[in-house]
């Protein structure tokens, strides 16, 4: 990268189903807290990039009444319409270009406004798939899960084990939405079926939530903090449309991860990464993500969950914060992973801290069956 860029501050809301707060209040509070966390003022910001969606927010130009809430008033700003990790990507590019030094990145969705799963129907091919009316993100995920499970002899129990790991981890995270400290595999496997094999507890909850991250160039970061978290690598990629790709694989995630690893000089991710925070909207996706990230060979994702490798006390913890199964405020979910990864590096993760984290991976996704993916490698020194 042309400049070193660091995360110097962050904040997130207490994600929940119906926050009883206006979108404006929710967003204002996290942005204010992120500035406070970085120890800077609004005046120190050069640029602001937000992430939200018109369809999910239920209004045209979703960002339009948020300029003041996010601190973008009289600032050079823009908005991406997808996961917050893409807003972070854009803010990073604005700093790398040399024309800005300090950026605030904000992402939010209030899932209680409009059901996000219904919104996914509007992302389908409007000329064919939408007209047929049988597909949405859950239905597509169910097809994906069955294809993957059949190919690699993965059972519903493996999916339940992922859910138990993440949802019990979430119980230790004060910001998570779904908290079930005593959840058992049996309980997951007897939860309501939406589309076989997708059950209530093997898919993410519908959450209201927001988060914000402050990015700074090397010179500024060193002024602001003793503990900057550096962005060592980044990669992003979009797959073909649902109908034109093999949903059994997460090819675009693999490409994104390879790009990020190359930039960060990582050759063996399992050995060189200390923790990963990934956006698994469905339990089976986490197993597929292990494989696409190169943490194991193709089809062996189930081994990592069977052996407990990815538990918080395992050798390669994944989602100690609870991941997307713990809280899923759609556009914010990926950026929350970045925050959680940064917290692990700074040793601020409290009851779900993994000891001795130096390098962490954060992943964000958007679209049906994780069509778009972004991967960040964060480091502490």
């Amino acid at each position: 990268m042309r400049r070193r860029v660091a995360i110097v501050g962050y904040a997130q809301s207490h994600h929940q189903h119906n926050m009883q707060k206006t979108r404006e209040d929710m967003v204002f509070e996290v942005c204010k807290e992120a500035l406070h966390n970085a120890g800077i003022l609004r005046e120190d910001l050069d640029t602001v990039v937000t992430a939200s969606s018109d369809f999910l927010d239920g209004r045209t130009i979703s960002s339009v009444f948020l300029s003041m809430a996010v601190g973008a008033f009289m600032k050079d700003e823009s908005k991406v319409e997808e996961d917050g990790t893409f807003a972070l990507y854009y803010a990073l590019m604005r700093i790398l270009a040399g024309s800005h030094d300090v950026a605030l990145v904000e992402a939010h969705t209030q899932g209680s406004t409009l059901n996000p799963h219904q919104v996914t129907c509007f992302t389908l091919d409007p000329l064919f798939d939408r007209q047929i009316g049988v597909l949405n993100d859950i239905a597509a995920a169910a097809l994906q899960a069955r294809m993957y499970m059949n190919r690699h002899s993965v059972s519903e129990k493996h999916l339940a084990m992922v859910a138990v790991k993440n949802i019990t981890n979430a119980a230790k995270n004060p910001y998570a939405h779904r908290k079930m400290p005593d959840l058992s595999v049996k309980e997951v496997m007897s939860s309501k079926v939406f589309y076989d094999p997708i059950r209530e507890l093997t898919m993410s909850p519908i959450s209201d939530g927001a988060c914000a991250v402050i990015l700074a160039s090397e010179e500024k970061a060193k002024k602001f903090t003793d503990k900057p978290v550096w962005i060592e690598g980044v990669g992003t990629c979009q797959d073909s449309y649902l109908r034109d790709r093999n949903i059994e694989n997460l090819d675009s995630l693999q490409t994104a991860a390879r790009t990020a690893y190359k930039m960060a000089g990582i050759k063996n991710p399992l050995a060189e990464l200390d923790v990963a925070e990934v956006s698994e909207k469905f339990a089976h996706e986490e197993l597929m993500i292990y494989e696409a990230l190169g943490l194991c060979k193709k089809g062996q994702g189930k081994n990592l969950i069977e052996k407990g490798t990815t538990r918080r006390d395992g050798s390669m913890p994944v989602n100690p914060s609870g991941g997307a199964l713990g809280a899923d405020p759609v556009c914010a979910t990926g950026l929350i992973r970045v925050i959680e990864a940064a917290k692990q590096i700074k040793g601020e993760a409290g009851r779900y801290q993994v000891p001795g984290v130096r390098r962490a991976l954060a992943h964000g996704q958007f679209g049906i069956c994780a069509q778009k993916n972004t991967v960040y490698i964060l480091g502490g020194n």
Partner: protein, 414 residues
Amino acid sequence: MKRNVAIIGCGQTKHSSRRRDVNVAELVSEAVFNALEDAKVSLREVDAFVVGNMPGFGGIAQPEQWLGDSIGAAGKPVLRIATGGTTGGSVGQGGYYTVASGLHDVVVAVAWEKHSDSKEAGATTGLLHVGLANFFHASAYGLSLKNLVATSVVGAAAGVAVYQATFYMYRSGCSIKHFDMVAAKARRNAAKNKYAHLQWPGCTPEDIAKTEIITYPFRYGHVCPASDGASAIVVAEETVAKKKARQPAWFKGLASYSDEENQLQSENMGGVGVTDPSEQRGAWLSAMKAYRMAGIRDPQKEIDMAEIYQPFPSQELIFSERLGLFDEGTAWKALERGETDINGRMPLDPSGGVNATNAIGSSAMQRILECALQIMGKAEEHQVPKKVHNAVAHGWGGVTNYTTVTVLGDSPGR
């Protein structure tokens, strides 16, 4: 330390009320492949895509996920930027940052709108939905519905623009006659632009003045159309740019400062809102920053032409002043003297501008694209007669609060 970045190819579609011959994916790919052909760049050489439109108007959420394959974006980074009326400008600027960051070398930035696919009557009423979700909150929390009512009476784009125009008329002393002149110029210029929508060769202010007043101070003949169309640019770093293009259009300066939201909404938020929507401090700040980056000290002398975002004719006058091309309150005098004509001292919107063609997501991108065409000498019939060294492209939107300003030049500048 800054990386020099240029536009090396431009592509757009024919604009009209209904492009029934293509679907959205085909419309967007028409612009992309025109741009790639113009840039002499193959799809394989493209590293990344920046895309955007106004999702509500086309009725598709995240359309790039479905139509990505049609433009060759599968397997590549795709960044979706959407900021309302400024979307095209924001997408173009996103194209710049994507290359300037050093993460990618050759990028396609494409913006579009296909109004006719939507049940909306178009941008002028579709904007009512900016306040739609307020209704949910208002009813969920038992608040007064004043918020919703306020947003509705604004009357969307036209509703905001009439306030803005009357404020400007008061500030500058111009009259409806000058709006007739701008609208007639836009339609005359559009007649020379084969991609434009409302083409009217030889249109005179008197022709426009014959149309009825629909909401004071605007006549029917002042209002932009709702168009179907797309526009794309190929953005590249210096080595590629110099190899591929005889005369690249270099990005010299850019900014997008946010101002406060429209007056009625702000009133509901405590009455501290904008009192004069023609003031446009965001545009003024954006221009100052963009000129500073470009090393331009006196825009009145150093800028050779401008493409202003003017869905309503008053906006060409207002923003040419906010961008420092004329002194405050004098743009209409320059208009009277013919300075803003295609062959004038400071040609404004030689393409016809948004007033003649408004595929809303694409409109601000077209301003950048048209400036690039003028610098590259590829504007064909609407090429301004003088040599264009520096041009400024403007985008405007939100609820009067978003601006994009992009300065392009025939050399990378400092």
